[in-house]
């Protein structure tokens, strides 16, 4: 159907799309979960917040599941090395994620305040730990990861969990949490009414400038303080996928090279810097749908900035840059990519279609009136 080379690029794009889907949609429901103790002063407030995402969080979470599944299928080496290398971090993410399905579903089944309080903390952990760790992981991808490949392509990770928590990794981790919370706050502005909405608006107004500031700091840090990776040999982009067939090395400022090469790509960081500010203006003017749209677009900009900076690298190795994974040599075979492309072309539009329909059907703000009416059936 397509050239192997084209397929490789398609899957880089598709995995970006899936990750964007995850951060945009799971972003707001994790943001809502993280805001429970901040905005939800009473049990009623918290129920309003949770019910604003009740019909959707389940579907939203599939973006994460699908992103992980697609990485397994399209970039098996990356899936294998990242998940086993970041073992403890991945386990912590997993344990945090346990709390969400059960927390949402079980919390309101029993009225006892201690029961509900415990689940609120569970949901809070399930909504803050995953973005923190995913952010830290991305912060480390940008710096290179200490892994090695042997001749059978078995990977060994030589770092430790605490080495992940370096200053830049932590900065990206905190940034990711704040980005999710910002997304959650604009969602709550749009989907709730009364005091919850007002408090959410305040959160958006405070967070939007902070998110922009951290994004800018991280950008400067990458330009000045973090070495990127460059390929030093020609890769046969249509050839067999084996990371050990090329050479690569560390170079200062390498993560900015693509912006020189493809000047249009500068749009991504520009969106990342500007759209949170638009969200700020929209929140100020009480245009909540516009605020939510702005933060969603900001997320696209932020993720694409990361992707453009690193292309074609996916997971550089700091121990042996030659073993780094790139979109050309850490991918599945041509046939597998072809089949998955075919499936994605049919099913991703379908998914978007019925997901939109679900949102359309559940349209409307949630407040005290709603909660009184659905006291027994709502979360």
């Amino acid at each position: 159907m397509f050239d192997y080379e084209v397929l490789k690029v398609i899957w880089w794009v598709l995995i970006c799309v899936l990750l964007i889907g995850f951060v945009v949609t799971d972003g707001f429901d994790m943001g809502v979960g993280a805001l429970l103790p901040v905005i939800g002063k009473t049990d009623d407030d918290r129920r309003i917040m949770i019910n604003s995402i009740a019909p959707h969080w389940e579907g939203n979470q599939v973006w994460l599941v699908l992103a992980a599944g697609a990485i397994f299928a399209a970039w098996p080496a990356v899936y294998a090395t990242a998940f086993s290398g970041f073992y403890v971090a991945m386990m912590l993410t997993l344990f945090a994620l346990f709390f969400r399905p059960v927390g949402f579903d079980y919390r309101s089944k029993i009225a006892d305040p201690r029961w509900r309080k415990s689940w609120d903390w569970g949901i809070f952990a399930g909504s803050t730990v995953p973005p923190l760790i995913i952010g830290v992981a991305f912060g480390n991808l940008l710096q290179g990861v200490p892994f090695q490949l042997d001749e059978f392509l078995r990977s060994t990770y030589e770092g430790s969990f605490f080495e992940l928590l370096n200053p830049f990794g932590l900065l990206v981790g905190i940034f990711t949490v704040l980005l999710f919370v910002l997304q959650g706050s604009t969602w709550l502005q749009m989907k709730t009414e009364g005091e919850v909405r007002e408090r959410a608006r305040k959160v958006s107004l405070i967070l939007a400038p902070i998110v922009v500031a951290i994004f800018a700091i991280a950008g400067i840090w990458i330009a000045k303080g973090i070495d990127g990776y460059v390929l030093t040999s020609v890769i046969d982009t249509n050839g067999p996928s084996n990371p050990l067939l090329k050479t690569a090395e560390l170079q200062t400022g390498a993560w900015l090279v693509n912006y020189d090469k493809y000047p249009l790509s500068i749009i991504a960081p520009a969106i990342g810097l500007l759209f949170p500010l638009f969200a700020w203006v929209a929140s100020k003017k009480n245009c909540s749908a516009l605020a939510f749209t702005s933060t969603s677009i900001a997320i696209v900009g932020v993720l694409m900035t990361c992707a453009f900076s690193m292309f074609p690298f996916i997971m550089p190795s700091s121990l042996n840059p030659n073993a780094s994974f790139t979109v050309w040599d850490a991918v599945s075979s041509e046939m597998t990519l072809n089949i998955m492309t075919f499936t994605a072309v049919i099913f991703i539009p379908l998914i978007l279609l019925y997901t939109s329909w679900a949102y359309f059907k559940m349209f409307g703000r949630i407040g005290k009136v709603f909660m009184d009416k659905y006291k027994h059936s709502a979360y």
Binding site: A54, Y87, I339, M362
Partner: protein
């Protein structure tokens, strides 16, 4: 190294079996909800809507934990079986990704509308949402089982020395894998049985307590009909027929029968006996003539191979595998001459057998006769656990067949609840589907040992380069989390099952009417 393999296997087995406590109920109950809601749409009787909502409440309690524990499965291939993920991700990853796109998204999007869309959707739209939940979960099972069946019988793929992994050669073969077909029907139907037994048992409880009779009888009848269909499919279209395809499946069949020698066709079935691995015999065997041949080959003239003969065949393939491994080393070292490539292609289907030697002889090619013999002994699983699990599974299945058929007969004769003893039997049979299902998965997965991917990748090669400390951390944490989750889930399940439809707060059911009378 050995510790890491054992701990990784333990963790995988534990989390997979735990996850599969919840999956079958989701599979079965979802369709029961579709049946109930269809009746509501067709008759407009509120009681069917209440039934859909109440059993839907119990469905939700189960579904939440099923989703949570499913995440573990997805993470675990990467975290704990990273070489496996590299080696077969090209083939094994695809059905998992397709499952997400085709099935899991559908199920998860519409489950939200199922719970919260009652007043937002028209009757038909809501029924459609319920249908998509059920359809999505069964489709999801299909793709997962395609992936699992490939581990049992890896068709449509071959090893590529340039990328050091298995690569897909035919997607059609992967999907149409005969093992996948039988596995799908058998597994999904057994899930339907679990859903039916769940409704049957809890309805029997209400009938025994003499409350909400109209509600309970209707639920009982639906469960009886659905369960009868389910158990018949599970047993008749059972997956024994998948056991004659592929070498490892044959080993599994011989092991669950404890059949050491190849007997002339048609083979007899060992009803009971004590497998003796050391002597390679079955002590005190009680045999039924012809039965095994009929079950396994559906014929009277095909023979069923015994374990000893299979092991002899394995020895040949292990020696071939040593050649393949040696040639692979040459190719890796850059000696990619046409002769070497041709020679490697000739023997590469036995490369996996060569890898069995890795635990004894890291260089494989220099293995001694003694080491080869050890690898041959390893090439079949322990027989006794398989032998007994199979009997446990079949026994539970046959017991359920009687229960469902009798329940169905009662429903047809309009005699539901007439026999207290039978209601008690139904209630206490609740664990049966779970016993059978867990035993079944044990047979499928333990029976595949020593392989992760049959004839391709030994389990011990597939692990990650992680430390024992990391594994202990994850195992202990998972045990703690899962125990707490199970306790909470059972607490809620019992609470809402005991409360019954009164939990809907419609004012129409037992406890609320009791309150009204007293008030």
């Amino acid at each position: 190294m050995e510790e890491i393999v054992d701990l990784s296997r333990f963790q995988f087995a534990m989390t997979a079996m735990y996850h599969f406590l919840f999956v079958p109920l989701t599979l079965g109950l979802a369709w029961i909800l579709v049946i109930m809601e269809s009746l509501y749409v067709m008759t407009s009787k509120e009681i069917y809507k209440d039934m859909t909502k109440f059993w839907g409440k119990l469905f939700a309690i189960n579904f939440a934990i099923g989703v949570a524990t499913g995440l573990t499965m997805e993470f675990q291939f990467g975290t704990n079986w990273s070489y496996y993920s590299h080696y077969v991700g090209d083939v094994f990853g695809a059905p998992l990704a397709i499952e997400g796109m085709m099935a899991f998204f559908l199920e998860s999007t519409f489950v939200g509308l199922f719970f919260f869309g009652w007043d937002r959707l028209s009757k038909l739209q809501h029924l459609m949402a319920t249908f998509f939940v059920a359809f999505g979960s069964s489709m999801s099972a299909l793709w997962i089982l395609v992936a699992n069946a490939w581990m049992q019988n890896p068709v449509g793929a071959e090893f590529n020395y340039e990328t050091m992994r298995m690569e897909m050669t035919s997607f059609a073969e992967l999907v149409l894998n005969p093992v996948a077909q039988v596995k799908f029907v058998h597994t999904v139907a057994s899930g339907y049985v679990a859903g039916a037994m769940f409704v049957l048992a809890i309805s029997s409880y209400y009938l025994l307590k003499g409350r909400d009779l109209a509600f309970a009888k209707r639920s009982f009848a639906i469960a009886a009909a659905f369960g009868t269909a389910g158990i018949l499919c599970t047993i008749i279209l059972g997956d024994e027929s998948g056991y004659e395809i592929g070498d490892v499946q044959k080993v599994k069949l011989a092991a669950i029968e404890s059949e050491w020698e190849t007997h002339p066709a048609p083979a007899s079935f060992t009803l009971i006996g004590i497998p003796n691995q050391e002597e390679q015999t079955t002590d005190y065997a009680v045999k039924i003539p012809y039965a095994l041949g009929l079950i396994a080959t559906r014929s009277l003239d095909k023979e069923v191979k015994g374990l000893k003969q299979l092991m002899d065949e394995h020895e040949v393939r292990i020696r071939n595998g040593m050649l393949a491994y040696g040639l692979l080393n040459q190719l890796k070292a850059g000696e990619q001459t046409p002769e070497n490539i041709a020679a490697f292609e000739e023997v590469k289907q036995d490369l996996g057998y060569g890898l069995l030697l890795k635990v004894y002889a890291p260089n494989v090619v220099d293995a001694t006769e003694e080491q080869i013999q050890l690898a041959v002994d390893d090439s079949i699983p322990s027989v006794a656990p398989l032998f007994w699990s199979f009997r446990l599974m079949v026994g539970s299945g046959v017991a359920m067949l009687f229960i469902f058929v009798f329940a169905f007969y009662q429903s047809a004769k309009n005699k539901i609840g007439s026999n207290k003893l039978f209601l008690k039997i139904c209630l206490y049979s609740l664990p049966l589907p779970w016993i059978a299902i867990e035993a079944g998965w044990f047979i499928a997965e333990f029976g595949r040992q020593p392989w992760a991917i049959a004839e391709v990748l030994p389990t011990h090669i597939g692990v990650s380069s992680v430390s024992v400390e990391q594994l202990l951390f994850s195992i202990v944490s998972i045990v703690v989390f899962y125990t707490v989750l199970l306790a909470v889930e059972m607490f809620l399940m019992f609470r809402f099952a005991r409360l019954g439809p009164s939990s809907l707060k419609t004012g129409r059911y037992h406890f609320e009417q009791l309150e009204n009378k007293q008030g």
